[in-house]
């Protein structure tokens, strides 16, 4: 079974978009993260509270963005999700 990821909690993150990046303030830890695309988009895909696999996040994003071939893009989404889980910004469902 591929791992499923979900938001840390519905209001865990305060986000602020700057010209060239996005800032994420993680309320539970008090840490500020500076991120660039596709991290804000991946987090937005989890916004409705669902627990999704990397493939499902990719499918969600592919409706809005041109991500290229799925066999290349899905492992990248998976790597980002694992990284975000390590930072505490998302968690394994």
């Amino acid at each position: 079974m591929p791992p499923r990821y979900c938001q840390d909690s519905p209001d865990a993150i305060a986000a602020c978009v700057l010209e060239d990046m996005a800032l994420l303030y993680h309320r539970p830890s008090g840490q500020t993260h500076m991120v660039i695309s596709p991290v804000p988009e991946i987090l937005a895909a989890l916004d409705n509270g669902a627990a999704l696999t990397a493939g499902e996040v990719h499918a969600e994003l592919a409706r809005l963005y041109d991500l290229g071939a799925a066999e290349e893009a899905v492992p990248l989404v998976e790597a980002h999700l694992a990284e975000l889980a390590a930072l505490g910004l998302v968690r394994l469902a």
Binding site: A14, C16, L18, E19, D20, L23, R27, G30
Partner: protein
């Protein structure tokens, strides 16, 4: 403590105690025009103590402490007692102030709007603010700019301006001799002389202003002006703040609001006159 003095600088009040008379007398003379604190209890205490049992008399050596202290702060010579007191006050602000987002930056005001300048020690931000303070701008502070968490206004902290090395002669040529403190030669940062901010800066030290321009000055380079992206501005300002992390989300909100609303430029210059002309020009440019 044997000798003591209370001071109010901007919104902060200090009680400075010293085992020796000299640092307190020097401070009292230089802060003579500042209003006396209206409250009995100071925000911070600063203590200048002998570094060891005999060091009050024998090669007198000062250890700076207070509400907040650094365990490994090196003792200083009594001849630098004024500097020790100033450093003690800065230390208390840097480690203990929570009412504003504290930025290690100089700031000046004109027409109700504030110019904030931040950079490493030696960048010229302090000298530039002091010079502008003598040329039609109101000096708000040479060391800390206090960003209000609710309104986004910058509030002054007009302590004595700490002039170092070449900056000493530059300002000494522009102001009355009685506004200059004693020369403190051979400190860890070279020669230092303190400058008393002018009457306007002291009278209006409770008056904030909305920030209108952020500059990253750099002295000693060919004249240049560069735009700085918001991401870089945010990163540099978190580094320039001593209490960003401690303030939590209100600090995040205040800083992001500042970064999104205040235009930022990096400026290089090789002389004070050049820098002043550059600042005046950028100030007049529409954001």
């Amino acid at each position: 403590m044997k000798h003591a003095l209370s001071l109010k600088i901007g919104p902060a009040t200090f009680r400075i105690g010293s085992a020796w008379r000299q640092p307190v007398e020097a401070l009292a003379a230089l802060y003579a025009d500042y209003p006396a604190p209206s409250v009995e209890v100071a925000d911070f205490t600063v203590r200048l103590e002998p570094a060891g049992p005999l060091r009050r008399w024998l090669r007198p050596s000062i250890f700076i402490t207070g509400d907040h202290g650094l365990a490994d702060a090196a003792p200083m010579s009594l001849s630098h007692g004024l500097l020790a007191a100033e450093m003690g006050m800065n230390l208390q602000m840097a480690l203990g102030w929570r009412r504003h987002l504290l930025l290690h930056a100089s700031s000046v005001e004109k027409d109700g709007r504030a110019l904030v300048m931040t950079g490493e020690s030696g960048s010229g931000k302090s000298t530039l603010a002091a010079q502008l303070g003598e040329r039609g701008w109101r000096l708000m502070g040479d060391e800390f700019a206090l960003l209000d968490l609710a309104t986004g206004m910058v509030f002054p902290f007009p302590r004595l301006v700490s002039l170092k090395n070449r900056a000493i002669d530059v300002l000494a040529a522009e102001v009355r001799e009685d506004r200059m403190g004693p020369l403190l030669a051979g400190t860890a940062k070279g020669d230092i002389r303190h400058l008393v901010p002018n009457g306007d800066a002291i009278r209006r030290m409770d008056k904030g202003a909305m920030p209108a321009l952020l500059l990253f000055p750099r002295f000693g380079h060919q004249t240049d002006v560069r735009a700085v992206g918001q991401g870089e501005v945010f990163m540099r300002l978190t580094q320039a703040s001593t209490n960003y992390v401690a303030l939590g989300e209100p600090g995040f909100d205040a800083l992001t609001h500042f970064v999104r609303n205040v235009p930022a430029r990096a400026i290089d210059f090789s002389s004070g006159e050049e820098a002043i002309a550059l600042v005046e020009r950028l100030w007049e440019e529409p954001a």
